[in-house]
């Protein structure tokens, strides 16, 4: 028995992979949650980043050098910092993409800023990441505020007319998991909703590890809303929807201002019942070809093809995000820089301007200058709204210029949402 323990421990210690790095390459740190609770999302995001690197390498890399991604694991906040430090100090890396969750991004960028390393946050939405006046931090995709606000705007401008109501006639309920993710987005949503004079009839945060969400469901049902803005993570999202189905809670509009409801798992679990639900993400999914410049369109298509070929399924939301953020960085930001030093990259990212359609996103890119409240954030980075239709989330309905699909509302009751 003793031997068994020692042997297994010794065995563990012998698994040490090596990482050979070729000459003529530039190492870019990619710190994401590869393990832990966000492992799946972290992995998917990495796939997007990796494809962006591969695609750029095919196009000659950056400054003639091949991009080599060096992984760091941001499983917890503590490890996000440790790993970032390790990559900076042990691997000498000064260019970063990653972290995924807002709190991880926040603490890790404190580190990168200290060392003057360039940090491109491929996806992490909290506003306060860019509210610290850091010079070397860039957030090319939207911020939580924008996600939440745009969702509310969408409800007011697009959804309300479909219900034949004015925004001020709408009864809105907001439910969210109470970590930084759900809270920041929902707070922004509520704020914008109030601007549109919508009536917020319920605001229900809940713990994401709850085993039972029926109290939330019941309270919301009691309030009888027209619109439900739900920002869960995946597991609790599934639980909530199932219990909502049990209770017969079926608002006319259900929107997830934060993204997780775009996960395929929902389709697998709930099938047709997912139809009509709306999700806000930044992904360039189901977009009209005409709205893009040819080069950008080609890049987007190539990404989708490569992903589908390698992973035998269409790209996930997180993969899109990873790719988009990384592509903006690898294809536009880095090559334009005079050299690959953080200062030159900073200048490049700061001055880069892309109009919507020039980049592979539905929004363009314009970094907020130093001195701006959210320096480094993408001033015009707004998300899109997707709708589950015919069992798939890949239906962009907003912004209209990019949308191929039609918005379909109101949402019928449970069990009646099959679409031909």
């Amino acid at each position: 028995m003793k031997r068994f323990y020692f042997l297994s421990f010794a065995l563990i210690l012998t698994i040490l992979p090596f990482q050979a790095v070729a000459q003529d390459s530039v190492k870019i740190g990619c710190v994401l949650p590869y393990t832990g609770a966000l492992a799946w999302q972290g992995q998917e995001t990495f796939r997007g980043v990796q494809l962006a690197a591969e695609m750029q390498n095919k196009r000659g890399g950056v400054h003639g050098k091949k991009i080599v991604l060096v992984k760091g694991d941001s499983e917890t906040l503590k490890t996000a910092v440790t790993e970032t430090e390790r990559l900076i100090n042990m691997e000498g890396i000064k260019i970063f993409a990653g972290w995924y969750s807002s709190s991880r991004a926040k603490v890790a960028t404190t580190v990168t800023e200290k060392y003057g390393a360039i940090a491109c946050i491929v996806i992490a939405v909290a506003d306060d990441i860019t509210e610290r006046g850091y010079k070397y931090v860039f957030q090319p995709q939207g911020r939580a505020t924008l996600w939440g606000e745009l969702s509310a705007e969408f409800v007011g401008k697009e959804a309300a007319p479909k219900l034949g109501k004015k925004p001020s006639d709408l009864k809105v309920a907001i439910a969210y998991e109470d970590s930084d993710f759900g809270t920041s987005i929902s707070v922004a949503f509520a704020r914008k909703a109030k601007e549109y004079q919508m009536n917020i009839v319920a605001q229900e945060p809940y713990s994401l590890s709850a085993l039972d969400l029926s109290p939330v469901v019941l309270r919301i049902k009691q309030a009888n809303p027209d619109v439900l803005a739900l920002t869960p993570y995946v597991r609790d999202g599934i639980l909530f929807l199932q219990q909502a189905k049990d209770a017969g809670l079926s608002p006319k509009v259900l929107i997830c201002p934060g993204g997780p409801l775009a996960n395929d798992v929902f389709g697998e679990k709930l099938g047709d019942d997912m139809n009509y639900m709306l999700v806000t993400t930044c992904a360039s999914h189901d977009v009209r070809k005409e709205a893009f410049q040819p080069e950008a369109w080609q890049a987007l298509q190539e990404f989708v093809e490569r992903y589908t070929k390698e992973f035998k399924k269409p790209p996930t939301n997180d993969a899109y995000h990873g790719f988009q953020g990384a592509w903006t960085f690898f294809h536009y930001g880095l090559p334009r820089a005079k050299s690959l030093t953080p200062d030159d990259i900073e200048k490049s990212m700061r001055s880069l301007v892309l109009k919507p359609g020039e980049n592979i996103t539905t929004f363009g890119y314009q970094a907020a200058p130093m001195g701006h409240k959210n320096a480094g954030a993408n001033l015009i980075g707004h998300p899109n709204v997707f709708q589950w239709q015919k069992g798939s989330i890949g239906h962009l309905v907003y912004p209209k210029e990019f949308a191929k699909s039609q918005l379909m509302l109101p949402m019928p009751a449970w069990g009646q949402r099959a679409m031909k």
Binding site: F9, I12, T76, L77, T82, R132
Partner: protein, 609 residues
């Protein structure tokens, strides 16, 4: 007084010359040098976390290892400290150094308030309560967003400077963390050698036995809990400034609480070095594994920790320290040229003035113990009925009766382990009926031994006796002196450094007696000390008891061994079915027909022989 002080100084100087002391000083010096020479921030981070977690584990160890109260909610105090100092800094610009003390203080306060009622709970229940405590704190921190920033936590803006407890490189952090660890280790060491320390480990071994030594176990646990929580709270402030973000899910993490415990268990609970060893062993390996295994590391860390914990608990329950303690000791011996620790030169042994005979009973002796109308039932069974008797000063009174007569229950009632239904117990004229907890009665001068002996198993004989002497002694040196006297009196000198669990039954009985005597009682209750002893040992015990009586201690003795009763007792009280059926001189009592009937002649044969 001056003699005490110069003795103390001499003692300390002796200690320092011992290899244990100067080796430790060298090790500490080396650590500081390492810290100052590490330039790579990656290693700096690993070292900082090692020191921090080691310090946290040490603080846990005070209540958990020494006090034996295993908590799984220690991270709760860590977080309370972090939030307190951070909020004070953000809202009132209070310096983190002061905020740290305030945070630690608040943690100690909350720890005391919440854990004190929980101390009633034994073992696993206490553990679960502490777990629940941490969960509640976490939920509160998430929910009360206005105060704590909710799940998003609170950020501390980075501003380098000692005043702000933030530094550009890692060196500053490492120094502080290391210093914290050393300080807490020192505090632990001093505590372990103090009277409080002996009381704490005594109650860890056996709470009931410790209560009879006049030690308030709940107060000791409370103090240990508060010290433990205080340090954890202070460390929380450090962590807040190290990570610049305080959020509930990271800081009130259950895994963190478990880690503190794992380090201590791995290294050796209840020791100063244990938690440090455990942290040094595990933290760097874990960080390195994560760094170099990368993707393949999923789960490996958990698995390794789990296997280690189970393995250590099963195969090496005293931790790594027990493994290396014998080679370490040999090293010490080689270095110092001495066999074992130098004997405490605690001053000359004052020979107790042995009185040739007992004080004459011509003066009206005062009644030390009076029992009147005592009643006690368990369920429907009346165990003690209307019991009356008394014990006079200086007497040896035998309490005899058939099995199940209620003798031990009587002792339990006197010493506060049970509560009487009716009746009164007077000790030196004072009503002590129903006085709780037992230590309050013991403090008044009543000591007892237990029928099934309760040695403080994990402690050495000397430490056992020290625990007994700790309460009354004015200083640790006085306590050591008194213990030395008792050790000599009871002939335990050759066993003084042996663990109580290794003693034979005869030895344990002697130890039981020694512990009781160390409390300098007025009245000593002996519960069947002769049981299980062979005739030689019985004779030795009888002589010992006579010696004790000659010192002026009153004795109430439950005994079945009639030879002892006959030769020791001045007076005998016979109990049957919880009532006194006879009282008088031993030779009269054994001839009483009622008594013979109660016993059916068993003791009769012994008495004749």
């Amino acid at each position: 007084m001056r003699e005490n002080r110069s003795m103390a100084i001499r003692y300390i100087l002796e200690e320092i010359r011992h290899p244990k002391a100067y080796l430790t000083l060298i090790a500490v010096g080396v650590l500081y040098i390492v810290v100052l020479s590490v330039k790579n921030p990656y290693w700096g981070d690993i070292l900082t976390m090692t020191f921090l977690l080691g310090a946290l584990s040490l603080s846990w160890n005070i209540l958990g290892g020494y006090g034996g109260q295993f908590t799984l909610g220690h991270a709760g105090f860590f977080g309370i400290g972090a939030y307190t100092s951070t909020l004070l800094l953000i809202h009132y610009q209070i310096s983190p150094w002061i905020g740290m003390l305030l945070g630690g203080g608040l943690a100690a306060l909350i720890g005391g308030l919440i854990f004190y009622p929980c101390f009633r709970l034994k073992g696993i229940f206490f553990c679960l309560a502490t777990l629940a405590f941490q969960e509640v704190v976490k939920i509160a921190a998430v929910h009360f967003r206005g105060l704590t920033g909710g799940a998003m936590g609170i950020s501390i803006p980075f501003k380098a400077g000692l005043a702000n407890m933030m530094f550009q490189g890692k060196t500053g952090y490492m120094l502080i963390a290391l210093s914290f660890m050393i300080i807490i280790a020192l505090v632990t060491l001093v505590m372990a050698r103090s009277r409080f320390g002996y009381k704490l480990v005594a109650l860890r071994e056996d709470e009931d036995a410790t209560e009879t030594l006049g030690i308030s176990t709940s107060r000791c646990k409370l103090l240990a809990a508060m010290i433990s929580a205080f340090f954890a709270g202070c460390l929380g402030t450090f962590y807040a400034h190290y990570s610049t973000l305080v959020d509930p899910y990271s800081i009130f993490d259950m895994m963190l609480s478990v880690e503190f415990v794992i380090f201590a268990i791995l290294g050796g609970v209840g020791t100063v070095l244990g938690p440090i060893l455990g942290a040094f062993a595990l933290v760097p390996i874990d960080a390195l594994m994560r760094g170099y295994l990368g993707q393949g590391q999923q789960g490996v860390s958990f698995f390794a920790y789990g296997m280690l914990l189970t393995g250590v608990v099963i195969f090496l329950p005293q931790g790594i320290l027990s493994w290396i303690s014998s080679p370490l000791n040999r090293l010490m011996e080689a270095l110092s040229g001495e066999k074992t620790r130098p004997e405490p030169r605690a001053g000359k042994i004052e020979p107790q003035a042995e009185r040739a005979e007992k004080p004459s009973r011509s003066m009206q002796p005062t009644s030390i113990l009076e029992i009147a109308g005592l009643d006690k039932s368990f369920g429907g069974l009346k165990v003690i009925q209307c019991l009356d008797f008394h014990v006079r000063e200086g007497e040896i009174v035998g309490l005899i009766g058939p099995n199940g007569a209620g003798k031990t229950t009587c002792f339990n009632l006197i010493t506060g382990f049970e509560e009487a239904d009716a009746g009164r117990i007077l000790f030196k004229g004072e009503d002590i009926t129903g006085l709780k907890p037992p230590n309050r009665i013991s403090k008044k001068g009543v000591a007892r031994t237990f029928q099934i002996v309760k040695p403080l198993a994990g402690l050495t004989v000397t430490e056992n006796i020290l625990a007994g002497a700790a309460e009354r002694a004015g200083s640790i040196h006085e306590a050591r002196m008194k213990s030395r006297n008792i050790v000599d009196l009871l002939g335990l000198w050759e066993f003084r450094d042996i663990k109580a669990s290794s003693l034979t039954l005869g030895g344990r009985k002697r130890l039981e007696l020694a512990k009781a005597l160390a409390t300098e009682p007025t009245l000593l209750l002996l519960d069947e000390v002769m049981a299980g002893l062979n005739p030689t040992e019985v004779e030795q015990a009888i002589q010992l008891i006579k010696k004790i009586s000659n010192r002026g201690i009153t004795l109430l003795v439950i005994e079945h061994v009639m030879k002892a009763v006959m030769s020791l007792a001045d007076r005998v009280v016979v109990i049957h079915h919880g009532q006194k059926i006879c009282e008088g001189r031993p030779q009269d009592v054994i001839r009483d027909p009622g008594v013979i009937e109660a016993y059916l002649g068993k003791g009769y044969q012994y008495a004749e022989g």
